[in-house]
Symmetry: none
Subunit: 195 residues, 4 copies
């Protein structure tokens, strides 16, 4: 039951213009060079309109991230072959970073996350958790199909996958196919001598 207060209603056009302008700024200049003056000007919006809805610079970026406005999702396929599906997800994730706008956005996001605990919490709860769940679910299916050991540490594997992507983003490295194979091999087979 919406309260229906009196007064003018929030302008959706302004909201979207702000988020679009934020995304552009973030991709182009990064988080700490983000300027609300510039965003307001680019969005054709008064600065006060931004501050009416977002208390901090961080809050604005957080909203941008957890909407569709900032980051593309990389889906986890299910072809029946877990190992191949994980491999593909990893390859696709690293490939998406090659598109310069996506790489810039993710790095901006990481910077925001590093600087601001609230942003980090939002990000974890509403963005990373989706990826985490998607991977977990796929691995769980693989386990039930017998492609993964019953007692396998699935959560740890998800962590490793995400951590690997993160490290590649920060070090701005290429996604070397051989290295990809090595990672997937590692996670599935481990390094210990054959038991």
């Amino acid at each position: 039951m919406t309260t229906a207060r009196p007064g003018r209603v929030r302008s959706e056009a302004a909201r979207l213009a702000i988020l679009d302008a934020t995304r552009d700024e973030l991709a182009e200049r990064g988080y700490d060079k983000l300027s609300l003056d510039r965003i307001a000007a680019a969005a054709g919006v008064g600065k006060a309109t931004i501050y009416r809805w977002y208390p901090h610079k961080g809050a604005l970026v957080a909203e941008g991230m957890l909407s569709e406005h900032l980051l593309p999702r990389v889906p986890v396929a299910d072809t029946g072959d877990v190992r191949a599906d994980v491999h593909d997800w990893l390859r696709a994730s690293l490939a998406s970073l090659r598109e310069s706008e996506v790489g810039g956005l993710i790095r901006a996001t990481i910077a925001a996350t590093a600087e601001d605990a609230d942003v980090a919490a939002q990000y974890e709860a509403r963005v990373t958790s989706l990826t985490r769940t998607a991977l977990s679910d796929r691995l769980e299916v693989g386990r039930r199909a017998g492609r993964i050991r019953d007692d396998a540490p699935i959560a740890a594997m998800v962590e490793s996958l995400i951590g690997t992507v993160l490290l590649h983003v920060l070090t701005r490295r290429e996604a070397d196919p051989a290295a990809l194979d090595a990672i997937v091999g590692l996670l599935f087979d481990g390094v210990a001598p054959t038991r």
Copy 2:
């Protein structure tokens, strides 16, 4: 044969005071709230002295990082048991983040790395590479000792370990002992069914 240019020599006292003040500011406020005015004041140094040696804020942070001034090193022990040594390194690394100053510094470092490609390159070349080498060397010894398969993807394993630490830093998570065990188990044994 040093060139012996004319003119006053660079003040080592000023250099150290600047790096100390930078570390304190970084730990306390993070990378994007870093103020060179404040650093200069805290170091008892003119702002021009900072800019004489460091063209960007990023360059200053980079120098701070690759000296002993910013980050503690976590050594990799060799007790004969690779698995335990890796486990200990991971536990110690994650534990060091609990000390609030270290956590703040690392997050500031990550932000700097995300925002500035030069900083990232420096960091990779002079900091991460040390850890990477230390871990690789230890694993290599383990391999020669037969505790690790001959064809094991050691480089990938190192990546996974560092990526895991990174992800914990950014998400500000506790180092849950069970999760630690899971990660080490994963890396050594993989998730595939027993061959």
Copy 3:
């Protein structure tokens, strides 16, 4: 019909605080040691507010001068005796320089005038011209009363009077009464032998 632009209106309080602080700084330290940082601090105003309205240091000083804020006016009396009235004006003008604040302000004004052609033009148009007119008018009345020759070079006389005051300011000299008499005698009687 005033244009009524959008946006917040200019703060009159800030404008006056800036001019007052400028006057104080100018009297105390002179034109080239004038610091906009100090003015802003003394006026309780952001530096940007000064720069928003005055593009140069010179423009600020110019505005200060042509308002009542910087210089006192010395009136030209009309007692019926031109010679005495001019004498009094000259004495009063030179006397006012003895008050340390006025002397400092005038010297600052002269420095501003010497350094900046725009300031000089403003000063001529809106300050000196008032004195020039006041003296001219009084002398013209004296001419009509027959106390001054019909073909007397009134404009040149005004120039001489102002130039004399100026020279005293710059050389920081006392207003010697005998010298005053001599100047007035010179201007009325000339130096040529009696015709």
Copy 4:
């Protein structure tokens, strides 16, 4: 008997290079934009060398002024006709200001004089006094020749002449020939009705 102290002797080349560079800077940018860094660079001299000999910026300018390095002298001729000689001096003085370098230098000098009492005193004692004496002497000769009244206020006349030149410099005005005639007429004949 020169004392012949030990050590290297003062470099005359450096002294002259400094004064030349000072004159150029002063003519081009004026007193308050004078930069000792720039002077030192232009003169090929260390900044310390300037400060060894001149305690303040003002002292350097003062020395420049009272040497031949800054200002041209306008001589006072003696053709037998005082009135014409004074007229010519005034015309030549005002004409010299038209040369842009001289005008700039004089205005810089005035600014220096207005800002710094020491400079003003030096200037009065070593520059203006020369002009003052030259004019006084010529007028005195005229008096002895009967072209000027015995009781004429010669000092006041000199003041008026110098004051007039000063006012023209500051107001950046043309030397209008008719105005020149008027001034000379004023000083010789006064404005009072014929006695």
